[in-house]
């Protein structure tokens, strides 16, 4: 630690040193972890395992024995142990937590070193960390725990990653390319398995390789294990290279859908490797089995997905557990599919993809965010753990290194992948309209990474049936390392070198959405006119069926009627409203919604030019800043006032409103806009999205009628009085606008009214405002708001009584508002 302090002082290379030290600290921590883990030296994490269960029971037994002893001690009047150590009691969860913590810290560490993560993919670094951890455990003289146990892997680590992938699967490109993906996933994987397996067997028969004891079926089994592209590895690498959507979905889709093929081949060869004979009948059975495994997996997933969607229809009163349904139903789908040896991966994908549109329409925005974050969090931790475990398992496992076998495996995998992709693309391109270019083919072939699924499948092999299991495992690990390290590290420079089209980062704009919809309908129409029932025709039919029947059953309330375009629009509006608040007032509004252009620029002019000239001057930067500051503190204030707390109720979210509220606000906004136009005032600061449900409030005071103002303020508590218009005694309009939920004013409409006021009155006004500030939340004081005006006309007794008051919901108001959220 002292070293760190000493080195901290030179500021020149501070950041770099800091990072290095952070890593150092982490390594120290890591060592600590290792020692604990080493000391434990039990197959701890595989608690689901049978042996794990037995182990637990033994623990319990010991615990009971211990308590017996203890009673004995008390019997003999020994001192009561004030502090005792019982590590075994907490061992399993403690070690799991340690591993997760290690993984998370590693992930954290890599992102602190941007230069390193720019060159080496995270997956490689994690494997290296795993190797180090494994090595340290070995150095500590302990037995390395079998961390990448198949049960642990398939039941705990894999599902989050697949669910994350399935839930956020880009349906549109996936379905558009489903033919190509299936071709690669099914035919490609079959080809790879038989090509690698067959040739490997041939090589094994060559004299002098000392492999003649390897039979054909184990070779094919090995081929089928090694040939499947791994979704975890693909995701990890492809997420970093930002390749275009088509290539991404091709490789990733293949890695997801080849699971069924792998499962069937694996079970088939495992079954018959003992018997030795495969009849044509078995081949037919294998094909049927494949259909059952894949379609059954999809069916199981879809059933659970629909169940989840249906359940989410009724969760509007218990928002807190909403996200849980998504996870539990998906996991159940996975487990149910695995129970029948169906493809669990396909079940998860189907479940996620089916439930998503309906669940998203039903659950609240917050729950949606929760689902998103949890999925991302779980999947990233799982992924990290998988790669670390791969490293650890490499150190742990007994290895049987055979140069011929390993090198032939690596070469054959590469060759078969290239031949398979090129050959299949040749066929596919005949049917594709957007052809796959040579570059695309290269990336698809090169992106075929292998990963932990292969290892786990190899690990599952029975040692008695497969005497060469260790050799297989070694070869699998080598192949994984080869693909992840060599291909994974070189794919990024290659993508740059070949100038492969990258993903466009553009946010989806409303115009694009309109045109996507328009184009869909147009193409459907053209197909109908041509009398040719093609893709678009059937898609349209399906969409209409979905809207008419399924959505009605699965989506609560009126939202099922909502067309996609409107849903998109609301989502966008929502996002902007949130961004607006987060950016603190909307001066730096993100480009999606223009801040520089307001409604008046596109609306055909109806106002006479004289009126237009009266348009208010733009606020200066300084004042904008001030207003924003006030808005911000205003917002915080409301947030801080948390009333009675209930464990099962979420605090009311300013943005979370019912659907009807939404429309109501919009209606009000439109009305308001009309009023404003009539009064020849403009929305100036900030130019809020027109007609958006942004909560606007404007208060226009003519200075002298604070009494009237106050009266107006008292009207606020009535939730229905969204705006009041008052004519002041002098006929200057006084508007008090209270649009929408008063909890979050993210946009202010400022209306300047200059009227001559005596300084005395102003002072009175200030005091009045100040008092109201206390009981009403916040009011902008004229002294701060009108500072600039004052400065300009300093000395003058008659300052322009510019009043800009921002009002906040009074406390009386809040109680009413919160009522629906309290039990």
């Amino acid at each position: 630690m002292s070293v760190r302090v000493a080195l901290h002082s030179p500021t020149g290379s501070r950041s770099f040193l800091e990072r290095g030290l952070l890593l150092l600290v982490m390594l120290i921590f890591l060592e600590g972890t290792v020692l604990t883990l080493g000391a434990a030296s039990s197959p701890d994490i595989s608690a689901q395992d049978n042996t794990g269960g037995g182990h637990d029971r033994r623990d319990d037994h010991r615990g009971i024995a211990g308590s017996h002893e203890q009673t004995n001690y008390t019997y003999t009047k020994k001192a009561f142990p004030v502090l005792s150590l019982d590590y075994h009691h907490i061992q399993v969860p403690f070690e799991i937590s340690l591993w997760v913590l290690l993984a998370s810290l590693m992930k954290l560490g890599f992102h602190l070193i941007p230069r390193l993560s720019g060159i080496v993919p995270e997956s490689c670094l994690l494997i290296v960390v795993g190797l180090l951890v494994g090595g340290l455990i070995k150095l500590a003289g302990e037995e390395v725990p079998p961390v990448l146990d198949s049960n642990l892997f398939f039941l705990c680590l894999l599902p989050p990653i697949i669910l994350d992938a399935g839930y956020f699967l880009p349906i549109r490109p996936f379905m558009e390319n489903i033919g190509t993906i299936l071709m690669f996933a099914v035919v490609g994987t079959l080809w790879n398995a038989f090509f690698v397996g067959g040739l490997l067997y041939a090589v094994c028969q060559i004299e002098g390789t000392y492999l003649s004891q390897v039979e054909l079926l184990p070779c094919l089994l090995f081929g089928s294990i090694i040939s499947a592209v791994d979704p975890v590895a693909v995701l990890a690498v492809f997420e970093e290279i930002h390749i275009n959507e088509l290539l991404h979905i091709l490789v990733f889709g293949e890695s997801l859908l080849n699971d069924a093929v792998t499962v069937v081949l694996y079970h088939l060869f495992e079954e018959y490797s003992g018997a030795g004979e495969v009849t044509p009948m078995d081949v037919v059975l294998g094909v049927i089995c494949f259909l059952i495994v894949s379609l059954g997996g999809i069916a199981v997933g879809a059933i659970y997905g629909i169940l989840a969607a249906f359940t989410s229809r009724f969760t509007s009163h218990t928002r807190v557990i909403e996200p849980l349904f998504v996870f539990v139903y998906s996991y159940m789908a996975y487990l149910s599919a695995e129970m029948f040896h169906l493809s669990g991966i396909m079940a998860l994908i189907a479940c996620g993809a089916v439930m998503r549109p309906y669940v998203e329409a039903n659950i609240s925005h917050k729950s949606h965010t929760t689902v998103k974050y949890f999925l991302k969090m779980w999947s990233s931790v799982s992924e990290t753990l998988i790669f670390i475990f791969l490293g650890v398992a490499t150190v742990a496992g007994p290895h049987a290194w055979n140069w011929t076998f390993v090198s032939v495996t690596v070469i054959l995998c590469l060759v078969s992948r290239v031949i398979g992709v090129v050959g299949l693309t040749f066929i596919i391109n005949k049917f594709r309209i957007v052809k796959l270019t040579t570059k695309d083919q290269f990336i698809v072939a090169y992106g075929g990474l292998r990963g932990a699924i292969a290892f786990s499948l190899g690990y599952l092999l029975n040692k008695d049936h497969f005497p060469m299991r260790t050799m297989f495992l070694t070869a699998i690990i080598t192949e994984i390392f080869f693909t992840v390290f060599v291909q994974g590290m070189t794919i990024k420079p290659l993508v740059d070198l070949l100038a492969v089209k990258k993903k466009q980062e553009a946010k989806r704009s409303i115009n694009e959405e309109i045109h996507t919809q328009f184009l869909d309908h147009l193409l459907t129409g053209i197909e109908d006119i041509c009398g040719h029932y093609g893709h678009h025709h059937w898609k349209d039919k399906l969409n209409r069926f979905n809207k008419k029947y399924i959505k009605k059953c699965l989506i609560a309330g009126e939202r099922y009627k909502e067309p996609q375009l409107i849903a998109f629009y609301h989502k966008m509006e929502f996002k902007q409203a949130i961004e607006l608040v987060e950016s603190g007032g909307g001066v730096k509004l993100p480009s999606a919604m223009p801040s520089q252009v307001s409604m008046q620029n596109i609306q055909p002019k109806k106002l006479p030019p004289a009126v237009a000239e009266r348009a208010l001057p733009q606020f200066t930067k300084g004042r904008e800043e001030e207003i924003r500051k006030i808005l911000r503190s205003n917002l915080q204030k409301t947030r801080q006032r948390l009333r009675s707390y209930n464990r099962h109720t979420l605090v009311a979210d300013p943005f979370e409103d019912g659907w009807n509220d939404f429309l109501l606000k919009k209606q009000r906004m439109i009305e308001l806009e009309k009023k404003m136009t009539e009064m020849s005032n403009y929305l100036t600061v900030p130019a809020a999205p027109p007609d958006s449900p942004t909560m606007c409030r404007a208060r226009l005071a003519s200075g002298d009628d604070f009494k009237a103002e106050k009266a107006g303020a008292k009207v606020i508590p009535d939730p229905n009085a969204f705006y009041n218009i008052k004519a002041s005694s002098e006929g200057v309009p006084t508007i008090q606008v209270d649009l929408a939920s008063p909890q979050s004013p993210d946009s202010v409409n400022m209306l300047n009214e200059f009227s001559k006021r005596g300084a005395k009155d102003q002072g009175l006004g200030q005091r009045e405002v100040a008092t109201r500030d206390e009981d009403q939340g916040l009011m902008m004081k004229p002294s701060s708001a009108g500072k600039e005006e004052k400065g300009e006309e300093e000395g003058g007794n008659k300052n322009p009584g510019l009043m800009r008051c921002l009002s906040d919901p009074g406390p009386s108001n809040e109680d009413e508002e919160d009522e629906p959220f309290l039990p």
Binding site: N511, E512, D540, K561, E562, L565, M599, P604, P689
Partner: protein, 220 residues
Amino acid sequence: MGASQSAGTEHEFQDLADRTGFSLEQIGNINKRFRQLSNNEETLSREDLASIPALDNNPIRAQIINAFFDKRNLHQNETGTVQEIGFEEFLMVMTHFRPAAMGITEEERENLRRDKLRFLFNMHDTDSDGTINLEEYRRVVEELLSKAGTIGQETAKAIADAAMLEVASTTRGKMEPDEFYEGITFENFLQILNTFDIETRMHVRFLHMDTATLRCGKSK
């Protein structure tokens, strides 16, 4: 008589095939459909298209039908609409929905892109003045949402306004309060749909060329 007519049409078809790039077989198929729609007349009217039952559910039915009778889509430099179209015009409209051929140059791709976007633009620009103004855009969105009932109609205006604002801000940048954005010009249209891969999306598989040429080769 029948023989001479078929010989005549074959010659005609060959001529059309050279000009449009469709294969003879495709032209034959489209012609069959054309005759079916027009009840064996030489020309097709709006009513004929409107009577297609499958189109009933299409929210933008009116616009699709209009597109067929729009002179701008017929590769002529005229504006306005026609009342009836012959087979050649029908085929000309269909050429906008051809997929991109394999191995075209970047320039050709750009032209194809412009051509397809121009078709879309013309569908929106109903008064042929070269810009899509707010009124026209609102109508587009209203049409799109016309099957959605009252919710759709209420929201359509807001969506069109938001979309228009987006166009104005991406194409013009900062605008003074007294400036006025007249409408989306074709250049603006290209700009906002920059990321929209129209050349790979706006096609009807039926008009795919490769399979057709394959079959064409077989028939010869």
